[in-house]
Symmetry: C2
Subunit: 916 residues, 2 copies
């Protein structure tokens, strides 16, 4: 069966040592069906009872504790070819539903056997508890499916040139050495197979080492994902997963098992590069790409953090020489400010707000403007860098050339639009199986219910309309919810500060602002965390209502919805503080009231930026800490504990399980893998904190970096030890996440422009210095920003009841308005319009400058690294050579055969060779 | 030699009736070398003397009139295989250079023969005048080159589904019928070959009809473009071109020859679609894409023109109800304006400017804002539409899958970096030829000179630095030139108007503005036209200095440079009028002077927009009319005339030419094809007029449409009748032009935002209406925009010398400044800042809104039409089926042979078939 090409030398990458060329037709012939793959390592718990056939996939169903009856004979249709080792002697429940499910299971498994898979059931007769059906995909099935999936197979080894820049400079390599994970196949990055997926029947194939990796993917395909999902949804099965088997990725038995644990899923390895190739080999491309992306993001956060620290350092260094904050702290200047609340509050001196003014300067200084520009370009750079990395990876993982629809053909069948192309191609090889599965599925629908699979028929817009309607209205409702939550916190802040201001205790009074701000932000944070969970569920529910056509489509819509909701949720309070707080407060004598009683809140005397900064840092840090600790570590641990307790309980009552647990038992005890969406979502929201409002908080990249260093290892640990092994899914990019990232990058330019020009005092300061200052310095800036108010203009009852400052006739407030003695008193002054114009001009300038620079950066960095382009060319050429040689050989063979057998007439569809 | 697959049915597209499958090795074998393609039509002047072999390509050199000597025998190296029909008896000049050139020619032609081409020289011995060397590429050479170029070849016919939307709706078809060109193969758009370029040695091939088309391309490749270019540059040859042969594109002899002339290159066909498929078949993909692009652009100009006319109509309809212009014309309001020049000019009444105010309203009304948004979206829509069309075309022309570097492999050899990949691949087939050509080229370099080909060695940055330096400085110099030209015109305008104002003749005085504006714009136009030609030459020279690596690279750099210079040139005066004119004029009593004498010019009382409009329309129309008429029709005609006269003269002195001129003689008399760059450039500059300043001139799309309808037919005529037939070049897109278009689209958003907010009076009017107007209407707007000036504040000597308005103390001027009685008189008033803020806010709003809408439009329209996606899938599947079937057949054949010849041992590199 195995055909070896001796003349092609090669090395091992994923598919090691040697490869086999087999003609598909031979594989297809009945002679080889039933043959087994050659086992080399007799594993513990990883094989069928015969110790030969590897367990590729496990189906689990849970027996319920009822009386058991034998299965009726009539259901054992088409089981004649069944190769069940553990004889099918399961007990069955009397419940009609359970009985029905048993029938479906039997039918389904019969179908699987027909499709060529081999099945082993549990030997014991269990009255209840999980029952495992173990599947093994034999060689021919794998080949057939690989053919169908157009998996690229190695045909010849190419010693690839250095892909990463500078890796051939020995000094660089030496410096980089300590950061490299100690993986025995580390040098694999430098060798590469010349691979090609081919439409031809000839096949190069993989040895056992690779086999196991591929087999998981293949088996899963055979199982027909759609059917499995339906069956699990209907409760026919409890779970379906491939089993953990770290051995598959190593050749040398010495370091077996634990390299991924040692070099990757360990906090002490935090400073190292990730062994991405191993990760991809074990978990598949989709998860590999996630970790690669996370790695690139984390790596690029390092320079951003350093620049952020420098910018913050500049703020710290200049705080003592900054004239505006010095003026604010100067008691001699003695600005008497208007009271902060009606009646209860007294006039106050600006110098008492010295603290916030100094704090303000830390974040609100000219360096911040530079940092905002820097971070906008950084975001572009990050995306460009990732694009290159992605292409490098897809090159070294042989994903170039696969098209989106080829990646997971069977996924597109998910909700029933089993396309013609797919079916007909499938038919070429497994007409019967496919048809049977299709019919089978329909039967299930009829039997088990029809909600999920009602989409089998073509939906018109009328069918979809209610779904869309509910969608739009729900999303609007959720937006409303978010906004009302934000508004609620505002009300809380207003009322509490009003109440505290009225309290007679001076201690309370002095701490009003700190207390209120801190508690309000914490409430915000809690609300965000709660709504986040709710919104995740709502997005899922809404997307299901829409009944999207394909799995990819489903995922995209879900992600978009979830992103929209979670983004709103996380950023609404921040947007409020940045752009709305204090802008609707009115002016002394004409304040704006909510509920007729409470004055709208104003910003702190140091400006709104410091509040924005507090808000941002607390929400960002809080979200990260709590989500990391509680949601990602705590809750899974808790769930595990609960499951373990349950198991224990049931074990106590049964006491029949004696032998050591098999791998599938262990894996079943783990939590199921629930997709990468939450992982990505967390990071994208974080990316928002780093990019959107970075002008107000230059330390954000640093905190993000610290979080991510831990996050990588945390996720790695989770994937390796706490989740069932996810099915390897092929993907050539990170999909819609890239678009979201790029959209956020663009959005961040505008947001930062507005933060700098409207939230910070950067522009007023500039305008003062160059238009109004007599000396050209900042002296007198504070005086310039404060308008005058005639105390006699207070509305009745709003003036301070018992003022300590007896003889005050005029107080000051922060705004650009005409003084009381002007013709149009309290209207906006010329300065106001002048500053506004400057602010708007700055927005235009900043936005267009940064957009232009981004375009330049994106244009300068080529999307595909030069080395890759060259290598692709070389590879293509080699491939052509190989094929040409092959064709030539074959042609020569035919010719020589013709020559030997001169009388033979070629059949009608063959070649007429006319020689002149 | 020809192998026919009977079981695959197909139709004719370009390659008609039947196709042939031939094994490459058979082709390569010496048996078939020298065979001729089967001729069907014995043409007149299109064939070698034997009437069999078609002339694919013509090389022309010009004998100079000197004494002639025989060529030395030593040069006839390797001419033993020469198949020259007209024996090589040319006369040669005694000049050493001429002699040298003769040697080079001989050597070159020997090389060509070695590469497999066949050559015919002129039969007559001419002492001077053009000598023609005609080339014919025989079948095997074509096959070899097709193989090398990876040209897709038809393998099976697919009846393609409708590609354009709605073409299967019969009503639509019927309505569309009159616009379809009457081409016999019109239905070809609906059938399509299943084509694939294959790496395999087997080949499907084309019959004679297609042959001729392909052969031109192929022959050209054989000739090795680089060598030809060098030889022409060195004067060894005068010209090299394929000959016109309209017959190749038709099957039916009836309508022969003239379909392209009748249905395409004719003004009376202006309302019809272009027969793009025919154009592509005759001229190749690159020119086909140009005309397709021009067609799409013109088509999309229709809706833009209609909307433009409506917007203009709105202006016309509302001009009598528009309050600001009514107020300006109202003599009762009696605004006394400050004089327009120092001393000589008198005060004047605003109502005298009534005309411009009314004209202004035609273009400066709220509908313009809508139109600007519309046109920005239109630009996006146009680009998206073109993207789709391009993909449709590249699908139906089988360009999908070709990569940039594969399109014209030999082009990359242009300046000597004959890449390893190319050479080595080439070597597989024609090692000797390639090497010889390479050596040959080096010899030429040594012999003829070394400037062009000094780039054979790797250039370091040191070598390139001077080039770059000259580049940058020249471009800066050109920019300076443009700006000084603009400035010169400004000076002209200022001085002339000052002089005319001083003239005693009242008639002159009253016409100042009209005369000055008109003459200035015409000067501008002339300068633009002259500099345009200069800049084209400069860009070429500069790009040659840079010595770019590849032909593509060369073209891109040239285009970018030429675009930059011509763009600056065409738009600098317009930019000046739009954004700078009148903004540096100062105010009464404090005017800005240039050269201490002349006041900077102000805008007309109706606003700058009307001047912008005049400037734009005259430059646009003038440029189009003059360039179309003079440069595209006049000059070529003139050149032709001159050439004809010259020919006649020489013919008179010789009188030896008796027989009717052959096709190659006729073609030689035509102008050489000089690339598509000027054609594209003209259109791109026009696109700028249509998109960049469209807010000021809504009729621009209409004029562009009228121009383009003519332009298409003009270009068609030129290509068909007035130029030598260009070499068919493959291209899958319009290259860098797309980027330029998309960049202009983005730029136009910002420009339009600024035009609306700063050049037009839209924002001041809005601000007045909603902030200052007492009644909420526009009444009083004119009064509001005019500031007061106290006549006593005139600087000495600048007040009107002899005013007719004797008792004036205060005059008005258009600006927002404080009145003389205010504390800070003549400073900008609060209104000024308020309006400025509003303008800037509008820019931000407009820009972000339009950018967002553009993103949405680009996102909603999928890049690849759905039908194409489906068809590609189907095609891929069919292709796989075909290949699978083929492989299977071959495998079965081998098996059957094995079975018959049981004793035969497979050779070591062949297949071991192990049966279990």
């Amino acid at each position: 069966m195995i055909v070896v090409h001796n003349d092609v030398q090669h090395d091992c990458y994923c598919f090691s040592d040697f490869y086999m060329r087999i003609f598909y037709s031979l594989l297809m012939s009945s002679q080889v069906v039933g043959s087994t793959s050659n086992p080399q390592v007799s594993g513990e718990g990883l094989y069928f009872c015969d110790g030969q056939r590897k367990v590729d996939y496990v189906l689990v169903f849970h027996q319920r504790r009822h009386g058991s009856i034998r299965s009726p004979a009539s259901t054992s249709v088409s089981q004649d070819r069944l190769s069940i080792l553990g004889a099918a002697g399961e007990s069955e429940s009397t419940e009609p539903a359970d009985h029905e499910m048993h029938l479906i299971r039997q039918e389904f498994e019969a179908n699987l056997i027909e499709a060529g898979l081999e099945i082993e059931r549990d030997r014991e007769l269990k009255a209840h508890g999980p029952s495992f059906t173990r599947l093994h995909a034999p060689w021919p099935v794998l080949c057939r499916e690989a053919e169908f999936l157009k998996i690229k197979v190695p045909t010849k080894t190419v010693r690839s040139q250095c892909i990463t820049v500078g890796c051939n400079i020995s000094l660089w390599r030496k410096l980089n050495q300590p950061f490299q994970p100690k993986v025995s196949h580390q040098d694999h990055g430098r060798t590469k197979f010349l691979s090609h997926y081919t439409h031809k029947l000839t096949h190069s194939f993989l040895n056992t080492h690779c086999h196991a990796f591929i087999s998981v993917e293949m088996t899963h395909c055979c199982l027909c994902l759609k059917v499995i999902i339906t069956l699990i949804a209907k409760g026919v099965y409890d779970a379906a997963f491939p089993i953990h088997d770290v051995s598959v990725i190593f050749e040398s038995p010495m370091r077996h098992q634990l390299v991924l644990h040692e070099e990757w899923a360990k906090y002490s390895a935090f400073y190292k590069y990730q062994p991405i190739d191993l990760v991809r080999k074990y978990f598949g491309e989709k998860i590999g790409l996630y970790f690669a992306w996370l790695g690139v993001y984390t790596q690029l956060l390092i320079p951003a953090s350093i620049v952020g620290i420098i910018v913050f350092g500049y703020g710290v260094a200049t705080v003592d020489t900054n004239i505006p904050s010095l003026e604010m702290c100067d008691e001699r200047l003695n600005f008497t400010m208007c009271p902060l609340c009606d009646g209860a509050c007294d006039f106050w001196h600006l110098s008492t707000a010295c603290g916030t003014a100094r704090a303000s300067h830390l974040f609100d200084n000219p360096a911040t403007v530079f940092f905002a520009i820097f971070m906008s370009l950084w975001a572009v750079l990050f995306l460009e860098h990732w694009k290159r990395r992605q292409i490098s990876l897809s090159f070294s993982w042989d994903l170039t050339g696969i098209e989106e629809d080829e990646v997971n053909p069977e996924l597109s069948k998910h909700s029933g639009t089993l396309t013609n192309v797919q079916t007909s191609t499938h038919k070429t090889w497994q007409k019967n199986t496919s048809e049977k599965l299709s019919i089978f599925l329909q039967t299930i629908c009829v039997r088990v219910g029809k909600t999920v699979l009602s989409s089998e028929k073509k939906l018109t817009w009328k069918d979809r309309l209610p779904g869309y309607f509910i969608n739009v209205s729900s999303i609007l409702f959720m937006f409303g919810l978010t906004f009302s939550a934000v508004f609620g916190v505002i009300i809380y802040r207003i009322t509490v500060s009003a109440l505290m201001a009225m309290s007679p205790d001076p201690e309370t009074k002095s701490n009003v602002r700190v207390t209120v701000t801190a508690t309000a932000v914490i409430i915000n944070l809690v609300v965000i965390l709660i709504l986040d969970e709710i919104y995740g569920a709502v997005a899922l529910w809404l997307t299901e209502l829409e009944i999207p056509k394909t799995e990819t489509n489903f995922e995209e819509r879900l992600i978009l919805k979830a992103f929209l909701l979670k983004f709103m949720n996380a950023y609404a309070p921040i947007f409020y503080v940045a752009f709305f707080k204090g802008r609707f407060a009115g002016r002394p004598g004409n304040y704006v009231y909510v509920f007729n009683d409470y004055r709208m809140e104003e910003c702190a005397p140091g400006g709104c930026l410091i509040e924005l900064c507090i808000q941002l840092s607390i929400i960002m840090l809080g979200k990260q800490l709590i989500q990391n600790n509680i949601f990602e570590i705590g809750i899974p641990k808790l769930k595990k504990l609960v499951r373990a307790l349950k198991e224990k309980e049931s074990a106590q009552t049964e006491k029949e399980e004696e032998r050591p647990p098999q791998q599938w038992n262990l894996d079943y005890a783990l939590a199921p893998f629930e997709g990468l969406t939450p992982e990505y979502m967390e990071m994208i929201i974080q990316f928002g904190f780093v990019s959107l409002f970075v002008a107000s908080f230059p330390l954000a990249p640093l905190f993000a970096l610290l979080n991510n260093v831990i996050e990588i290892r945390l996720d790695a640990k989770k994937f390796v030890t706490e989740l069932r092994r996810p099915v390897a899914v092929r993907a050539k990019d990170i999909g819609i996440w890239y678009n979201i990232l790029s959209g956020m990058g663009k959005f961040s330019v505008i947001i930062n422009a507005f933060v700098i020009s409207f939230t910070s005092d950067f522009i007023p300061r500039l305008v003062y210095q160059y238009m109004y200052s007599q000396t050209g310095t900042m002296h007198g800036f504070i005086d310039h920003t404060l308008s005058y108010f005639n105390v006699s203009n207070f509305k009745p009852g709003t003036a301070p009841h018992n003022s300590e400052h007896g003889d005050i006739t005029v107080c000051r407030y922060k705004d650009y308005r005409e003084p009381p003695w002007s013709a149009d008193a309290y209207h906006f002054s010329k300065q106001y319009w002048c500053v506004l114009a400057a602010r708007l001009a700055f927005v235009i300038l900043f936005q267009n400058l940064v957009m232009f620079l981004s375009l330049v950066v994106a244009w300068v960095i080529p999307d595909i690294p030069k080395t890759i382009v060259e290598q692709l060319k070389r590879e293509k050429k080699l491939l052509v050579d190989v094929f040409l040689q092959e064709e030539k050989d074959k042609f020569q063979l035919i010719q020589s055969l013709f020559a030997k057998d001169a009388n033979l007439q070629p059949s009608s569809h063959m070649l007429h060779v006319e020689k002149q």
